[in-house]
Amino acid sequence: MGCLAMTSEEKESLVHFNHEKERTLALRDALLARGLHTQPEVDAMEKGFESWTPDNGAALVARAWCDSSFRERLLDNTLATAKDVVHPVPFGGWDAVALENTAKVHNVLVCTLCSCTIKSLIGQPPGWYKSLAYRARLVREPRAVLREFGLELDPDVSIKVWDITAETGYMVIPRRPAGTEGWSERELASIVTKKCLIGVALPDVTAGVRDEPVSQTEREASNA
């Protein structure tokens, strides 16, 4: 296979090379053959994952940016408050805590022991988050790691790294960037990516997806 000739980065980039698909389906089929699961059960569980996306976390951030009392409630009890915005709340038994960035504090997440993530709000963790290099390096040299992501923070900004080691996950509330005044919640959510929620990127105003402008006729009709 030539594994020894590869760099560690190359090894980490190869997603599947040890019959993973066959072995996964064998496990499923062995369980089905014993009558321990049914195919509809497996299908329903798989389908449930579709709602676990970073759109959920982004919607919470956008609401927090627009509504300061929502923001306070979100910081105080993230799980209970999220239910105002995310329907249904697919939390899988975990608790969630939102962490707010300020002018002087930048929060960033990792699971050094495995790859835990609050999937229902952030989505499935990407390969880089699960990599041995990220798990090893972020806690010890976060500024250098963030630089690799293209994020250069001012030296007077304190970096708080959060290591997810129990059944509570985190999501970062980035600071609302300048140039978004008057934006709708949907427009604001469009600039909050998975990387922003994990804390390795800041929202990019130029990537915002703006709402379709309302025509004069539609505007008059809705005002009538």
């Binding site: 321990l36 608790d95 022991l113 080691t165 059944e167």
Partner: protein, 232 residues
């Protein structure tokens, strides 16, 4: 002692791979794997901690060299076998001859915590030390904080099955966890960045400081360079 998974602060790692790629799924079978993992927890065959501990017991070179989904799949497979719901022969019926089922280091007996599901021992703002050494087995306290002093920032909202029991398929008392914040310089004295690391730790992993230690820790936190200068 299986500790290859305990990576926080480990040296020798280079650039973060695949930074440009946020999409986390390549193929549908990855969802099937997650579904099978979660269904087993839902049906009470094993807890998530037991799955994590199975992954932790993979041979070191396997853990370091094989792909993420290979580690995950190997742990999910092993936790089903250890739960007794399937055996290796069941799997072999669906596998080509040359495909091997990864083995793991045998599981040690578990260990209990000293916490209680009702009482909570520590308060936000209090300084505590992470106990060291901690027992072998499934321990959700990374090596880089063991023996270190940090400050409680908040108490977890729910009591959790203690990892030393749940990871070993044993019953035990649940405990609250605490988010404990550590100054990075207290963890790695040569660290170039002065920020913090916060870790969510079960009550049993923590111990109170003596009065003298508490004062010293407070002074250290206010003037982190003072203690180092005093030593030189």
């Amino acid at each position: 002692m299986p500790d290859v998974h305990d990576l926080g602060g480990a040296g020798g790692y280079g650039a973060i791979p695949d930074i440009g790629k946020d999409q986390e799924y390549e193929e549908r079978w990855e969802w099937t794997l997650m579904a099978v993992l979660r269904l087993g927890v839902k049906k009470g065959w094993y807890r998530t901690d037991a799955y994590r501990h199975a992954v932790e017991r993979l041979p070191r070179e396997f853990y370091r060299n094989n792909a993420y989904y290979d580690r995950m799949l190997s742990g999910v497979t092993r936790v089903h076998i250890e739960a007794g719901v399937i055996c290796e022969d069941d799997l072999r019926k669906h596998l080509q001859d040359q495909v091997t089922i990864p083995v793991v280091v045998p599981m040690l007996p578990g260990h209990g915590g000293s916490g209680s599901a009702q009482a909570t021992r520590f308060q936000p703002g209090e300084r505590v030390r992470v106990r060291s050494p901690l027992p072998e087995g499934h321990v959700r306290a990374p090596g880089y904080v063991r023996g270190k002093i940090g400050r409680i920032v908040h108490r977890g909202r729910h009591a959790l099955a203690f990892p030393g029991r749940a990871g070993h398929r044993e019953e035990g008392l649940p405990e609250f966890t605490y988010r404990v914040e550590f100054d990075r310089l207290a963890l790695w004295s040569e660290a170039s960045d002065k920020g913090t690391v916060t870790v969510d730790l079960a009550e049993s992993y923590l111990e109170s400081l003596s009065l003298a230690e508490g004062v010293a820790a407070l002074v250290e936190s206010l003037h982190p360079n003072r203690a180092r200068l005093a030593e030189t």
